[in-house]
Amino acid sequence: MVKENPGKDSFTRNLVIAVVVGVVLIMLVPTILSKQTNSSAKIPANVSADRGYGVVFNGDVKDVPVVDIYEDFQCPICMQFEKLNGQYIESLITEKKATVVYHTLSFLGPESINAANAGACSADEGKFLNFHRTLYANQQAENSGAWSNDVLVVLGQTAGIASKNFTSCVKNLAYKDWVSNVAAAGAKANVNSTPTVFVNGKELDRNTEYFSADKFKAAIERG
């Protein structure tokens, strides 16, 4: 009697400990693997793995500053940043005055992943900038259902994309692996906030240069 009880108790206790630790480890391993860069992932048009899997404009223009923009389509501050500086950045692209790399991060949840994936699909259609503008113009509360893939297809039409490929690309999350590669590259680049802008590899001053159109312009021209 006296001998049975402690044996039983320790067995249950050890089993419970083993199960808890075991289950957590089993969940941890695939998570770590999924955070590694998947070099075989399909990548959209204009994307360069060497540039952190960002969507690149004017990649071949020489002697111009390189502007890396890390953003999340769902982030409200990115929307304000876009409102203030978006047009200027697009003018840099059309006038070939800078190499601009858009890194679409997705740390705000599932609809950020949807949006980043749809952004990649729009790059394939050559309409990334239009789509980018359209998304920010229609930004709603985070993960409120506003950016389901069905809605993103409609927003694509608003941005002038009317192709069946785009529709299936958005709905099938065709660039899901690429989206996590962008996130992993952003983590490696030590991006701790969105938006984050690097000009020639140097981060802008968060206190002054993001939300003053003049200072932002000056920072880009300084190079």
Partner: protein, 158 residues
């Protein structure tokens, strides 16, 4: 006095374990953000910070569950004590260096607007939890746990 120790141990286990489990689950859903939170402390090399950002929620969940069910209380208490002391060091150094970050304790994290960081309540909370962890290390026996009571243990081992 002694007969209340078990009840106090139970409360300590549930509070400490509950906080850890909640923190772990909230972070588990946004691991990118969790990595960002660890990086923002600017304390560790980036690759190690990123690794820790993934591991940490899992450790918190495991230790939280073990504390709540009262299995391996002593080891869990040591682990959670180490976690709390690490958090206190991280937050203190961020405060001392004038960083503006969200502690990322329950999800969130990363840089915040300068001047909006609020470190004192976080330090007080983690300090209180560290005291609970030390208490459980010293007096691991508690009500409704899976660990054997030391008094039973003596009898059985003898």
């Amino acid at each position: 006095m002694k007969k209340y120790l078990g009840w106090f141990g139970l409360i300590a286990r549930l509070v400490l374990g509950g906080v850890l489990l909640a923190a772990g689950l909230l972070k588990y859903q946004h691991l990118d953000k969790s990595q960002m939170a660890v990086r923002a402390y600017e304390l560790l090399p980036i690759s190690i910070a990123n690794f820790l950002g993934i591991i940490l929620p899992f450790v918190e969940i495991a230790v939280g569950i073990l504390l709540i069910i009262g299995a391996a209380t002593k080891v869990s208490a040591v682990l959670s004590g180490i976690l709390m002391i690490a958090f206190i060091i991280g937050i203190s150094q961020a405060w001392a260096r004038g960083l503006s970050i969200d502690c990322g304790c329950f999800g969130g994290g990363g840089q915040v607007e300068p001047g909006t960081a609020n470190y004192l309540p976080e330090l007080l909370r983690d300090g209180g939890l560290a005291l609970l962890a030390i208490y459980l290390f010293r007096y691991p026996q508690s009500k409704f746990g899976l660990d054997r009571n030391p008094s039973d243990g003596e009898q059985n081992n003898g």
